[in-house]
Each structure stands twice: as structure tokens, then as C-alpha cells.
């Protein structure tokens, strides 16, 4: 059993020392969701200026997979355009569905989560933050008057 694959150092590092884990009271884009499987809850706070994600943070509690995924996500999409952030969201889901073999250029540290694909029930944990992010950024589209992301 390749447990080490699942709990790679990078996952544990982000879990024990999460990046951008802070409340952002009054953030323009805030979205919460819970994982009905375990009751974990996650909130994303995002600030978008000129179509660029200038700040993204998260709050909540959860397992090492959901928390590290959220932490890595905040680093991966900071300063990206909304379109690029959503594109990465789609690619991340593809990796979690086992459809995309991730390369480190695109995914960076997120590659560490690849091992989760072997544990189907945990995939939900890994994509939770990304689901919430997409919902928050869809709000950005509406706020800017453009068509909501499909």
C-alpha cells in the first residue's frame, strides 16, 4: 500500500502549515460549502481586481487532503486571471478524475495530490476547495456583468 504516495511530504507540509488560511471579513467574493460525507466546512475569500485574482484565502476545518488542497490552491491561483484560475480548476478536476496526467509545469506542488485518485472517496475532499473557488469566481463574472461560467 503506497500510503506514502498519499501523504507525501508536501501534503503534510501544507496541512500542518497552511498558506493563506485566514478570514477575510468583507471580502468581495465569499463562498462556503461543506462536504456531506464528513461534515467538513470550507470558506473561500477572494478578491478580484481587473479580472485578476489578487488575493485568495480560506478558512475551515477538514482532513489533510481537503486542507492541503485548499492551501496549495491559494498559492497556485494567486495573481492569475479569473479565466486562468478557472482553467486550472478544470485541469485539477481532470487530474482527480484520472483523465489528465499532470505535469509539474502546470500543476506545481498540486501534483502531490495525484495519489488521491487511488482513493475515490477522498477525491471529494481534494476538490472541495476548488468547487467553492469556482462558485466564488462565478460570482465575479456576474458582478462584472459577463456571462456566468458554465
Amino acid at each position: 500500500m503506497a500510503l506514502d504516495d498519499l501523504y507525501k511530504e508536501v501534503i503534510l507540509d501544507h496541512y500542518k502549515d497552511p498558506r493563506n488560511k485566514r478570514e477575510v471579513p468583507g471580502a468581495a467574493l465569499t463562498c462556503s460549502r461543506n462536504n456531506p460525507l464528513c461534515g467538513d466546512e470550507l470558506t473561500i475569500y477572494a478578491t478580484v481586481e481587473n479580472d485578476v485574482v489578487t488575493d485568495v484565502a480560506f478558512e475551515g476545518q477538514g482532513c489533510s487532503i481537503s486542507q492541503s488542497s485548499a492551501s496549495m490552491m491559494t498559492e497556485a491561483i494567486a495573481q492569475k486571471s479569473v479565466a486562468d484560475a478557472l482553467a486550472l480548476t478544470a485541469q485539477f478536476r481532470g487530474m482527480m478524475a484520472g483523465e489528465i496526467d499532470p505535469d509539474e509545469d502546470t500543476f506545481g506542488e498540486l501534483v502531490a495530490l495525484k495519489g488521491v485518485v487511488k482513493y475515490p472517496i477522498r477525491v471529494k475532499c481534494a476538490v472541495l476547495a476548488w468547487d467553492v473557488l469556482q462558485e466564488a469566481l462565478d460570482g465575479a463574472g456576474e458582478a462584472a456583468g459577463s456571462a456566468p461560467h458554465a
Binding site: 500500500m1 500510503l3 464528513c38 477538514g62 482532513c63 487532503i65
Partner: protein, 408 residues
């Protein structure tokens, strides 16, 4: 010491010989569903191979055999629970369907605005949601008995919660999360004194302790066959004859009718009135084999053995530094033990245990009210049946140390 030969019992359960990555299966999730002895697997196979026909319909020999086996299973379950007669047993898929049947067939007929339904904060969602439906449909009010910090029902305010407006008390006999055994006989007497009916959720109690419905005097008892070594979708509901007779049917269809007219129908006698459509025949026949198996072991012996193992597990988990939710006194609880370990999330813990071949449940256990009560999103739960051993508890504790290594 237990009088049961656990090694011999284990040999009756083929699945317990499985290995995962070279590690023997340590199955500690019997509160979710129990494993099945070979005699149960054989009974289902034998039914389909030699006796399969629909029941209560055909005049041919084979149909008579199938009907005898199905009705024989009913008689067996009645005897197992010391029910006064087989007709007081309604077959269905188990506890969830049974509570829904009562909340609908009894609740919608006898509950009115101003009435109260009393349940507890330690109920499984299957003994909460059907009552929410009934309350919404009838205007009755749903009230809850709280839970103490150490996992017992808090009966301090029982008198103000159980009174003449209370029409039914629905309470678990054993918590699927905390393991707590509840004082069902005493609660039944208190409820009857104010004229309320009593439903006991027996999903976790019936598989692990002797249950005598006439001694408890409850009006309803739900039975989950798949948690007591039987097949999934077996089990049903015990209810007093006069209660079943005054209730409305739940599902409509074949077999549950007496006469059908264009605009109305009359109902069959009990229990057929509640058994619409083709039933789970092979499953109930399989349950009969499980009841024979448990009866041979003796439910007193099963209960004593499980208490012995539960006591050992409480001691070992406590020593390992786990925080246990629920009573620490093994005589007041059954073998479903929820715990937290260090700050390791239950999902992470269950995954690490899985890598050691140890199967436990992580999550809210369909008891979100209880999770909120104890301020946790989820717990890890180890739960036992008669085939579990002290060595398996030791394997759990050793695997916990691995979690400490990874997350500590």
C-alpha cells in the same frame, strides 16, 4: 471469560479469511453492517436453487414451500424477540423502512396539531427525519431529550418533556455512535403512564443483546437484519397487534388488500396489510438462518462476550490516548466505540488504519445532531460483533501509532 469459542465462530465467516496487501482483514465496522456466516449465505443460495417462487399466491407445491420458508422466518423472528405471535412481525427492508412505516401509518393518523413527538439527540437520522416529515404533515411538535457530556440520555427534564400532549416516544435502544444502552423499559413505562406510544429503534440493540418485547412492553421495535448476521434488506418491525390493526397501511399494492373497488379498497389482515408487492423473500429466509445461528450461540453469551471485548477495547484505546465519546462503563454500553485520536482527522485516521487492514468507519455516522452536541464534525468508530477478538483491538491500537508517526 467467555464461554464462546471465538476461533470456531470466526471459521464460520468466510470473509474473515480475506487479506488486503498481505494483511488480514480486521473488520471493525459491524455497526454499519455485520458479516455473514456460511449458513446464511447457504440459506439464500438454497432458497434460489430449490425453493424459489412467489409467496401467498401460487397453489402449486413450490409456492407452498416458499411460503412456508417465508412464514417460518416470521415465526422465528417472533420467537427470537418473544413476540406474542408471528402476525406482530411485519417484514420489510429494516429499520429505516420501519420507522417510516410507523411515522406514516401511525403518525399521520394519530398525530394532530398541539401533539408532541419526543425523540432524543442520540438518534440515527433514520429515527429523526421520518418524525420531521410526520410533524410537518400533521402540525405536531418534535421535541428532543438531550444527551449528557458522558454520553447518556439526560433525563433531568423528562417530566417536562414527556407529558399528556406527548403522543409517541421514539428512542434508540443503543446509540450507533456512543454505544450507550438506554433505559428502554423504564422509559416505556413512563411514556405509557402519560398515554404515549413507544417506538424502540432496535437496529443496534437486537444484534447484540437478548430482547424481549413483552418485557419491555414497547409498542414498536425496529429490526435491522443485516446488522445481526443476516442479509441486507432483511428485518422489519414488531408492533402490538392492536396498534397494527388501528394503523393505516404505508405502501399500497398487491397482497395488502382485501377487496378493491373503483374508488376505495379494504385492507388485508395484519401483517399482510403492511406487505405490499413481492417481498424480500430470500432475504428473510436468510435472516432465519442468522437467527438460528445466534440462538445456537445464545444471546446472553453473545452479549457477555461483546461486553468483555468492549471493556478491553475501552481500556486499550484510553491507554493509547484516544478521546472516547460515550460511556466508559462497558456494562452500560455496547461495542460501538467512537473516538478521536490526537488531532488526526477521522478520514485521515481511517485511511491510515485501512493501510494496516483495519476497517473502521469515519464520518458523522448519520447522527449530525450528536456530532454538533460534542462539537466535532466527525468521529472514527470501531464497532464489534461476536467474531471480533482482542488481537484485532490490538491491531487497531498498533495502527493508531502509525497515525501518530505520520501526523504527530
Amino acid at each position: 471469560m467467555s464461554t464462546l469459542d471465538i476461533a470456531k465462530i470466526r471459521a464460520d465467516f468466510p470473509i474473515l479469511a480475506r487479506e488486503f496487501d498481505g494483511k488480514p482483514l480486521v473488520y471493525l465496522d459491524s455497526a454499519a453492517t455485520s458479516q455473514k456466516p456460511q449458513v446464511v449465505i447457504d440459506a439464500i443460495s438454497d432458497f434460489y436453487a430449490h425453493h424459489n417462487a412467489n409467496v401467498h399466491r401460487g397453489v402449486y407445491e413450490l409456492a407452498a414451500e416458499a411460503t412456508d420458508l417465508y412464514e417460518g422466518a416470521r415465526a422465528k423472528l417472533a420467537t427470537f424477540l418473544n413476540a406474542p405471535e408471528p402476525a406482530t412481525i411485519v417484514f420489510n427492508r429494516g429499520t429505516t423502512e420501519s420507522v417510516n412505516l410507523v411515522a406514516h401509518g401511525w403518525g399521520r393518523k394519530f398525530l394532530h396539531e398541539g401533539d408532541e413527538i419526543l425523540i432524543t439527540e442520540m438518534e440515527h437520522h433514520s429515527n429523526i427525519i421520518p418524525w420531521q416529515f410526520a410533524a410537518q404533515a400533521t402540525g405536531a411538535t418534535l421535541r428532543y431529550l438531550p444527551v449528557t457530556d458522558d454520553g447518556y440520555l439526560d433525563l433531568t427534564d423528562l417530566e417536562s418533556l414527556l407529558h399528556e400532549r406527548t403522543k409517541i416516544l421514539a428512542v434508540t435502544g443503543m446509540s450507533n455512535v456512543l454505544g450507550t444502552l438506554t433505559p428502554i423499559k423504564e422509559l416505556t413505562a413512563r411514556a405509557h403512564a402519560v398515554g404515549a406510544r413507544v417506538l424502540v429503534d432496535g437496529a443496534q440493540l437486537v444484534p447484540h443483546a437478548p430482547v424481549d418485547v413483552q418485557d419491555i412492553d414497547c409498542d414498536f421495535l425496529t429490526i435491522s437484519g443485516h446488522k445481526m448476521l443476516g442479509p441486507t434488506a432483511s428485518g422489519g418491525l414488531y408492533a402490538k397487534r392492536e396498534v397494527l390493526e388501528e394503523m393505516d397501511p404505508f405502501l399500497g399494492g398487491g397482497e395488502m388488500i382485501n377487496e378493491v373497488f373503483h374508488d376505495h379498497a379494504t385492507w388485508n389482515v395484519i401483517p399482510s396489510k403492511f406487505e405490499a408487492g413481492t417481498m424480500n423473500i430470500a432475504q428473510e429466509v436468510g435472516l432465519a438462518a442468522a437467527i438460528d445461528y445466534l440462538t445456537d450461540l445464545g444471546m446472553e453469551a453473545v452479549h457477555a462476550r461483546e461486553q468483555e471485548l468492549t471493556g478491553y477495547a475501552l481500556e486499550q484505546l484510553d491507554r493509547a490516548g484516544a478521546r472516547i465519546f460515550g460511556p466508559m462503563d462497558a456494562t452500560k454500553r455496547g461495542g460501538a466505540i467512537s473516538f478521536a485520536y490526537q488531532d488526526v482527522h477521522p478520514h485521515d485516521l481511517a485511511e491510515i488504519l485501512n493501510a494496516e487492514g483495519v476497517a473502521v468507519r469515519a464520518g458523522h455516522h448519520c447522527a449530525q445532531l450528536l456530532m454538533r452536541r460534542f462539537g466535532v464534525p466527525a468521529t472514527t468508530r470501531a464497532s464489534f460483533s461476536v467474531y471480533n477478538t482482542e488481537a484485532e483491538v490490538d491491531a487497531l491500537v498498533v495502527a493508531l501509532a502509525k497515525a501518530q508517526d505520520i501526523f504527530g
